[in-house]
């Protein structure tokens, strides 16, 4: 679809000539995912659908206890300090943002009265100013009114370096002003194509000014409300035992009619993913279990218990193998994998191409991850709008052999290929995790057939995923030839995520290995393309730039995508819930109910 055609369609929606839903369907058909299709409409002056999920109960309460099983329990309940999803989810039990992302990628208002759009004046034409209208009559759990002052306070709280809020990245560069009691204005320093960040989703949960005002900055850790949240959500806080249990009871003054359905909620922590799935699917002790990164064969078997079903929701996370462009075995100025070195064999495009033919993604999908991981050729595969059509993948050992032969890598006496004394023998590392070790086994076997020797290394997750400067086993150090893990954009927009191939982001000793570019691949074309998308307000052109970025990474075989990692949850039979791959599992739990 060309830019012209698209513009024609958008005009059709504006004039009422084309129905909004059929526009979205056409967009999906051409590979434009809902969230961006919607933002596209928003920027072009069409309000987003204020889609209401069908909700059947006719009164609040009466549903018993909603029992959630998070196998890693929340350890703190202040959203501005939430380091992982478990803490974000624990906070989300009581706190709400202005809007959240639903499963189709629509932005759905929660504490906002309506979503900003060009039509309602919420979005300025230059892409710099966003005006949010707040829902009126919303009360905090202690009865105080929720107003624009709370939002301005959250901005000040989060951007204050002394608070050291995890959310500060979303607030430090913007300006938030109160227009009136129920209106705020956000000003970005430069045109911002993806504006739905501050006050939206996980980083957007709003804490009450009247309880936190005395505890901003240095005193933030002393706030009693850090442990006893007072929010606006459907359930009122009752008890918190870090890592074990969070409970709440129904909020009789909730701002949506007939909600919530349950009388109480509990989030139990601890244990492991398999037994969490068991408690929902097989014994029915719990209603909902989160983040089940478990072999699909096991899940299918548990589903046969008949008490519940597994729900898969695709987000943007991708399990991928990274190639090291620097030499992990040579030490320069006290660091290995130094940007000053060149990998003796992985810098040869033929070797990387051969490797990409040796990753049997379909088998990894079919036999290891099942529904929990689909094979893909792309690094950016979701939202669909950004998914490139110019890439393909194939598992073909013969092709790999042909490529290596042609490039002059000849099998040595031990079967491992050599060229000019350089051996194709690689150290392939990842974190300790059963599916990952199985993937390693599959790749190793295929590589052996093609004459590439693989030594497998697995590092315990708490070390691998740490930022410890002194430890050589972390993934940012990348003291190996190949490594594998999952990563993905945190919002339905890949711009920040794609920073990881910029030459300015090189991960090295001088920046304490905090740079995002871990493969140490450098490309001028990539850098210029990335900077071009930053200023591009036209969503179509911007999407094209993103696709080009993806293609550069894939066609140069900088990384080899393996499978997508959707979120996997177990849901008991009677529970009706809408999940989302772009937001917290419980982003919409005010609307959850049980079919009797």
């Amino acid at each position: 679809m060309t830019e012209q055609e698209l513009r024609k369609l958008i005009d059709g929606v504006k004039t009422g000539h084309l129905e909004r839903r059929s526009f979205l369907r056409r967009m999906l058909a051409v590979g434009l995912a809902a969230p961006l299709a919607n933002q596209l409409l928003a920027l072009s002056g069409v309000p987003m659908a204020q889609a209401a999920t069908p909700y059947k109960p006719t009164k609040a309460g009466g549903g018993g206890t909603l029992k959630l099983l998070w196998w890693q329990g929340p350890t703190l309940l202040n959203p501005h300090f939430a380091t992982g999803t478990k803490d974000q989810d624990g906070s989300r039990l009581f706190y709400e943002p202005l809007a959240g992302w639903n499963s189709t990628g629509d932005l759905i208002p929660i504490l906002a009265a309506e979503l900003p759009s060009t039509a309602n004046g919420g979005l300025s034409p230059d892409g710099k100013v966003i005006t949010w209208k707040l829902k009126q009559g919303v009360k905090w759990h202690d009865g105080m009114p929720f107003t624009a002052d709370d939002l301005v306070f959250n901005w000040e709280y989060a951007r204050n370096p002394a608070t050291a809020a995890v959310t500060s990245g979303s607030y430090k560069d913007i300006l938030v002003e109160k227009v009136d009691t129920y209106t705020i204005k956000i000003t970005y320093p430069k045109p911002t194509p993806f504006w739905a960040d501050a006050f939206v989703s996980a980083v957007g949960m709003i804490i009450p000014k009247h309880l936190f005002a005395d505890f901003a900055g240095d005193k933030s850790r002393d706030a009693p409300t850090n442990l006893k949240p007072v929010g606006t959500g459907p359930y009122i806080f009752k008890e918190f035992r870090p890592g074990d249990l969070v409970t709440g009871v129904i909020n009789p003054n909730y701002h949506m009619p007939n909600r919530p359905y349950f009388d109480a909620v509990e989030m139990k922590g601890g244990g492991d993913a398999v037994s969490a799935a068991r408690a929902v699917l097989q014994t029915g002790e719990y209603d909902f279990a989160w983040n089940l990164q478990v072999e699909d064969e096991v899940l299918t078997r548990l589903e046969a218990g008949g008490k519940g079903a597994v729900r898969i929701t695709e987000g943007g996370s991708i399990e991928h193998i990274q190639c090291n462009f620097t030499d992990p075995n040579k030490e320069v100025d006290g660091e290995r994998s130094s940007a000053k070195t060149k990998h003796p064999s992985l810098t040869d495009p033929a070797v990387r191409e051969a490797l990409s033919y040796l990753v049997d993604k379909d088998s990894v999908h079919k036999f290891i991850y099942g529904r929990g991981g689909n094979a893909t050729a792309n690094f950016i595969f979701n939202p669909e709008r950004f998914a490139s059509k110019n890439t393909h993948y194939e598992f073909n050992v013969d092709k790999a052999i042909a490529i290596l032969d042609k490039a002059g890598w000849k099998p040595g006496p031990d079967g491992i290929r050599v060229k000019d004394g350089v051996k194709l023998a690689y150290l392939y590392q990842t974190s300790i995790n059963q599916p990952r070790q199985k993937t390693q086994a599959i790749v190793k076997q295929a590589c052996a057939k093609a004459g590439i020797g693989i030594e497998i290394k697995a590092v315990t997750a708490s070390v691998f995923f740490s930022s410890d400067v002194a430890n050589p086993d972390t993934y940012p150090h990348f003291y190996a030839d190949l490594q594998m893990y999952t990563n993905g954009p945190t919002a339905p927009d890949p711009a920040i995520f794609l920073q990881q191939f910029l030459s300015t982001e090189l991960c090295q000793k001088s920046n304490k290995w905090q740079g995002r570019n871990i493969t140490r691949w450098v490309s001028e074309e990539y850098d210029t393309t990335w900077h071009a998308q930053e200023a591009e307000l036209d969503p179509i052109k911007r999407a094209a730039l993103m696709i080009h970025l993806n293609d550069l990474v894939i066609n140069n075989h900088v990384v080899i995508p393996v499978v997508t990692r959707p979120s996997v949850a177990a849901v008991s039979k009677p529970l009706i819930c809408e999940l989302s791959g772009f937001d917290s599992y419980i982003w919409d739990y005010a609307n959850w109910y049980k079919e009797v």
């Binding site: 099983l69 890693q72 350890t75 703190l76 202040n78 300090f81 380091t83 992982g84 370096p161 002394a162 050291a164 809020a165 995890v166 959310t167 500060s168 990245g169 979303s170 430090k172 980083v203 850790r221 850090n226 442990l227 008890e239 035992r241 870090p242 890592g243 074990d244 249990l245 409970t247 509990e266 139990k268 922590g269 601890g270 244990g271 492991d272 037994s275 068991r278 408690a279 097989q282 014994t283 002790e285 719990y286 218990g305 997750a461 708490s462 070390v463 995923f465 740490s466 930022s467 410890d468 002194a470 430890n471 086993d473 945190t490 920040i496 995520f497 920073q499 990881q500 905090q514 995002r516």
Partner: protein, 320 residues
Amino acid sequence: MSPTYVLRRLLLSIPSLLGISVVLFTVLAMAPGDPFGDIVMNPNVPASVAAALRAKFGLDDPIYIRYLHWLAAMVQGDWGFSFQSRIDVDTLILQRLPTTLIVIGASQVVAMLVAIPVGVLAAAKPYSLFDQVANTLAFVGFSLPTFFTGLLLILIFSVQLGWLPFVYRTDLNTHGLAYLADEIKQSIMPVMVLGLFQGASLVRFVRSSVMDVVKLDYVTTARSKGIGRSRVLLRHVVRNAMIPVVTLIALQMPIVFGGAIVTEQIFRIPGIGSLLITAILANDTPVVMAVTFVFACLVVLFNLIADILYGWLDPRIAFR
């Protein structure tokens, strides 16, 4: 065992605990990992946040300064502040102590109550059918790890039979007898798993040491004086055979506080073991330090108690 000896040992334990705390602190500080790793990984969080947090919690100071801070606070009864939960460490520990004491304590009691009589009886008639069965079960008991037996019990009693819940709850909302019944129902599997694992090795030790004592001269003398078999066994043998058993129990007691990581994880028991493992994985040093230090105090204390008991069991033992 004179009171002055006990007092001297108690006083001696202060420098010895100080020494242990230095080593513990150094190991924890040197072990790889970073409490704010998640933050550094997240591309949406500026690098300054992790740096500010490190400074705030004093992680950039040299180890010995951090140790002195910790020691000064500990002496004043301040156990530290959890990086992960942003909450006082003693609150975290006290929240989990009752559950740990009930479940792990019960399993130790079960282990002792089963193992000591079984071990004595097995030794009384070595290579009898009873002995063979007891031995085989004991070997199964410590050959199979708890992650395995726990799962086996869950599959049988929760999944197949549906008799017992396998998620341990701290918020049972029943009262009185119903509460007791629920508590027993949810504790019985973890208590059995742990109790049998501990009991299995205890049976072997009891049996072995009773058999060692049975062959000593004074037992023969007692028997030849015409004292009945069971009386000799109870009055003369068991007491003397208890020295290794007391040693083992003294080794086990601190674990009642320290919890059992694997079993707690399988049954989702919010005990100190699971607190410790989460804290270790998150590099939440203040929590790890507090738990291990209390554990160390208990190790030293029970070692002392064991020494005192040796003197009571065998009056000839003298500590000089």
